[in-house]
Amino acid sequence: MRATPRVCAMLGLAVGAASRPASVLAAEILAEPPSDLIVTVYRAPYRNGGSIDLDDLQGFALISETRIVHLPAGRSRLRFEGVADGIEPASAIITGFAGGVIEKNRDARLLSPAALVAATLGKPVELLRTIRKTGKTERQTGTLLSDADGVVFQTPQGIEALRCSGLPETFSFEPVSGLSARPTLSVEVRSPRAETKQVTLSYLARGFDWAADYTATLSDDGKSFDLGAWVTLANSNGVGFPSAHTQVVAGTVNRANGEEEVEPIDIGGPMLAQCWPRGSTSDVSEIRMFKLADDEFKANAPMPMAMRVASLQEVVVAGAKNVQQEQLGDLKLYRVPERTTLASRQSKQVRLMDRTGIPVNTVYGADVDVEEDDAVSTPAHRLLRTKNSAANHLGLPLPSGGVAVFGAVGGQRLLEHESDLRDTAADEEVEINMGESPDVQVTANKEKVSIDRAPDLLPLVPGVSLRSVKIGAANRVAISNARASGIEFDLRLQLEAGARVVRADHALGAKNGRPIFRLHVPANETVTVRYQIQRTAERILRTP
């Protein structure tokens, strides 16, 4: 969460007190905490469908903060503290200055024990050493010589290493400039006169994501379903956004630096790591001792980003008031109706839509390779198919996400299948994958047809001339239905380039350039389809 203004002001004073040489000295000014916030969350650019993974949020957000600044006349260095940890500093835009921005800076070094030691290197430092028995603390002034794998310092007595003596030892540092408690962006600006201004800072930040999460509830007869959806958005940053205008954007946007990492923030490694070898005569292995010490440091050190995200647990469901959709260029923008607080490491849900009585077809199907001849039965796949049209009580953009399909059994709602939905525009066809159906099995194999056995010939496919076809092996596909009701079945064939189906005992169609048999398989029956194909080479030989 953001710190109170008072804490910010104190930090600003402390930082401003000690600073760089006078020639570049610009007054350090701390911007007030944001008075208005806009957070727009974008999906992970390459995730096409499916829900978000709270442990690894690959999306990003555009954050706009409105802040009040009090500028003195002349050049000043303005600090914006508490920006999101995942900030992409190169994307920052600051508007509202009359005199213009001289430069923008993002300092990745945060205030940490290791950063303190590094900043004090070669400078005077005070050593505190306490005698346990008496409780007396001895103070000594020295110089820090090194912080490479352990700390070496110098006192008038000589050179020593920190915490190797077994005595409680620590440093007391002088104030250090340039280290901030929280991720900070700073700008150098020039102002013609002292004034109070309202400025807007916008930037892209990683560690966000969102998805639509649909629930489809099938009616008892399976002929229609109700579709409801949540917008689920999440923030894995250590910074929260209180009372923000929040929206999400659907569609795929280009990220040019998708493969690059954000410049990491240096949270500082463990301080005071190692001493000289400390093995004793009674040690079995001295490695264990170091490991224990190491674990101890790890426990105390700030957790790296990836580990912290794993503890993202809080899920908040905002009231069931739907988001409002608007067009943004070629994208869809969904606005959360009221200001909301997107806290740090939080996921939040807002209602996207609720539609009822959408007619749906259940279609079974299989893709069969014509070369297949193993007589092994495989379960058919099952799809729910409908059209995203107003006539079907839909006809609105459906952003990609996960779909949980529920069916009713004896008045009880049970989960049938979970699958993904891609970005679907209005009037597009919607297909929801329902997995495999063990009740509907498909067996494909070839059967030998003798040239001499003319009576067993299959009918010619319309448009194929008798002369061009020779008789060869036929393919046979059996579809068995163990359900108590008849089903529609799409049998699609995979052919090599230039090959075609010449004879078949069922009507032949085409879908996406490939032959398809649209079949009805009655309850508890088996339908067998037989067909013959002709390959390219055969055809060139036969047709002049």
């Binding site: 921005v101 923008k104 990745a108 795929t252 280009n254 000289w276 070898p277 943004l328 597009e428 055809r539």
Partner: protein, 460 residues
């Protein structure tokens, strides 16, 4: 008796860092490819005769073979780059065979007992010789402080450059230290705000500097070079080349601006001296143009024999010119251009970004910002027929859908037309921008669809 000695050792160690000059001029020239030339001018005190000068505030990633030190009346004997770091373990290791002071602290009373000890070995544990006895340091777990009298010569807190010179005469003089270092880099970042109502963009350009060289460059005069001189060795680590992208440069420009050049590279000097802190990202403005006409369109590229099961979104494309009239009027260093557009409330929202290469003035750029939600193309190979052994006919059907309330034009490109490919029949006239590509401009009505068919004959 011992203390003055220690003070001497310590003051000598500190005086070796005397090259921290107060009157110092730093200039940093940063190339686009993780390489920088640092020129450090400062006054150094030189004694007569042989001496060593240490430079501790140089880049931690300095390429020592590129260092050159120039000053009047000195001759250089050798340059050393020491990277043996001062750690407690090294300190003890280098003390083997030498005398150290141990201070035993009585846990009950806090009373200190001082003893001299000789370090015999540091293998696993520290073995000491005290008088005629052998002891293991802190074997009993009781507190023992170890005090060393000096820091061994080669150990440093940070990698350090030292130069041994012979001074012809004593005195202060101006010296120039220059070297190459990785860890400093820059690129351009652009912000473009697209105004939908009048199809114009406002573009701001920022130079983004990054410093991960481990050192802060205070108050440096900074010059950026838009180009990357090839490095004999440093470039080898970056052999990875991403797969080819959609070309953003449509028409290379032929105009010259008034930017300064170095050879064929453009130079971008920063107007004011600046401090480039370690681990800092710094941005400085170099371009601010308003009201440049821009065009918004759609593009779909189908690979050869590309069949999709479901419709695929067309790319949303923005194009504009970098010429002086009706354009940005500047050459653009390589970087990322981010597009924004205002939403219904008037807040700018991000709508996608695209990388551009070094672009001359007067060019036409065409940048893809992302996928159009409402404009989709469903490409299908309807039929493949073998006409002769090396002659195929391919029938393609493209179904274009538009769920927007206005009509759009999609630039549909069928790619991969290799060999002797020709179009035998098509439902709309195509153009052939190159032998490999056939292109159609298909108008799709508002909330409607359009179908394009084409029949290709490929002989090879």
């Amino acid at each position: 008796m011992r203390l003055p000695l220690i003070f001497m050792a310590c003051s000598a160690w500190l005086s070796a860092t005397s090259a921290w000059g107060a009157d110092r001029t730093l200039s940093v020239t940063i190339y686009a490819d993780d390489l920088a030339l640092v020129q450090d001018r400062r006054d150094i005190d030189v004694k007569e005769g042989r001496q060593r000068i240490e430079f501790q505030d140089v880049s931690a990633q300095i390429r020592p073979e590129t260092v050159s030190l120039a000053a009047a009346d000195i001759s250089i004997i050798e340059q050393n780059f020491d990277f043996d770091l001062l750690t407690p373990a090294k300190l003890m290791e280098k003390a083997v065979g030498q005398e150290i002071t141990i201070v035993r602290v009585n846990p009950a009373t806090g009373a200190e007992t001082r003893e001299q000890a000789q370090v015999l070995a540091t293998n696993g544990g520290v073995v000491l010789k005290i008088g005629q006895r052998i002891e293991v340091l802190r074997d009993d777990g009781l507190p023992v402080r170890v005090i060393f009298s000096k820091v061994p010569d080669n150990l440093r807190a940070r990698p350090t450059l030292s130069v041994s010179i012979i001074g012809a005469r004593a005195g202060t003089r101006r010296a120039t230290l220059s070297y190459l270092t990785p860890g400093l880099g820059w690129k351009a970042d652009y912000v473009a705000l697209f105004n939908e109502s009048d199809a114009k963009i406002d573009v701001q350009g920022w130079v983004t500097l990054t410093n991960s060289s481990g050192t802060t460059y205070d108050n440096a005069q900074t010059l950026l070079v838009a180009g990357s001189p090839s490095q004999a060795d440093g470039g080898a680590a970056n052999n990875y080349r991403p797969p080819p992208r959609r070309s953003t440069l449509q028409v290379p420009g032929t105009a010259s601006g008034n930017r300064e050049r170095l050879g064929d590279y453009y130079l971008y000097p920063l107007a004011e001296r600046t401090t480039i802190a370690n681990l800092q990202t710094k941005q400085v403005s170099f371009l601010d143009v308003h009201g440049v006409p821009a065009e918004h369109g759609y593009e779909f590229r189908n690979r050869w024999l590309g069949t999709a099961e479901m419709p695929v979104s067309a790319k949303s494309i923005y194009s504009f010119s970098t010429s002086a009239h009706a354009g940005l009027g500047d050459q653009l260093p390589a970087g990322i251009l981010r597009f924004y557009m205002r939403d219904k409330r008037g807040d700018p929202q991000f709508i996608g970004e695209s990388r551009i290469d070094h672009t001359p003035m007067g060019s036409t750029l065409s940048l893809a910002t992302g996928d159009a939600f409402d404009v989709k193309v469903h490409a299908v190979v309807e039929k493949r027929t073998r006409i002769a052994t090396f002659d195929w006919q391919t029938d393609m059907r493209y179904e274009l859908t538009n769920a927007l309330p206005r009509s759009v034009v999609v630039k549909l490109r069928q790619e991969g037309l290799w060999g002797d490919s020709s179009i035998k029949a098509e439902s709309q006239k195509s153009t052939r921008p190159s032998a490999e590509v056939a292109e159609w401009a298909v108008t799709v009505p508002a909330n409607g669809k359009a179908t394009l068919t084409a029949s290709f004959e490929t002989r090879y």
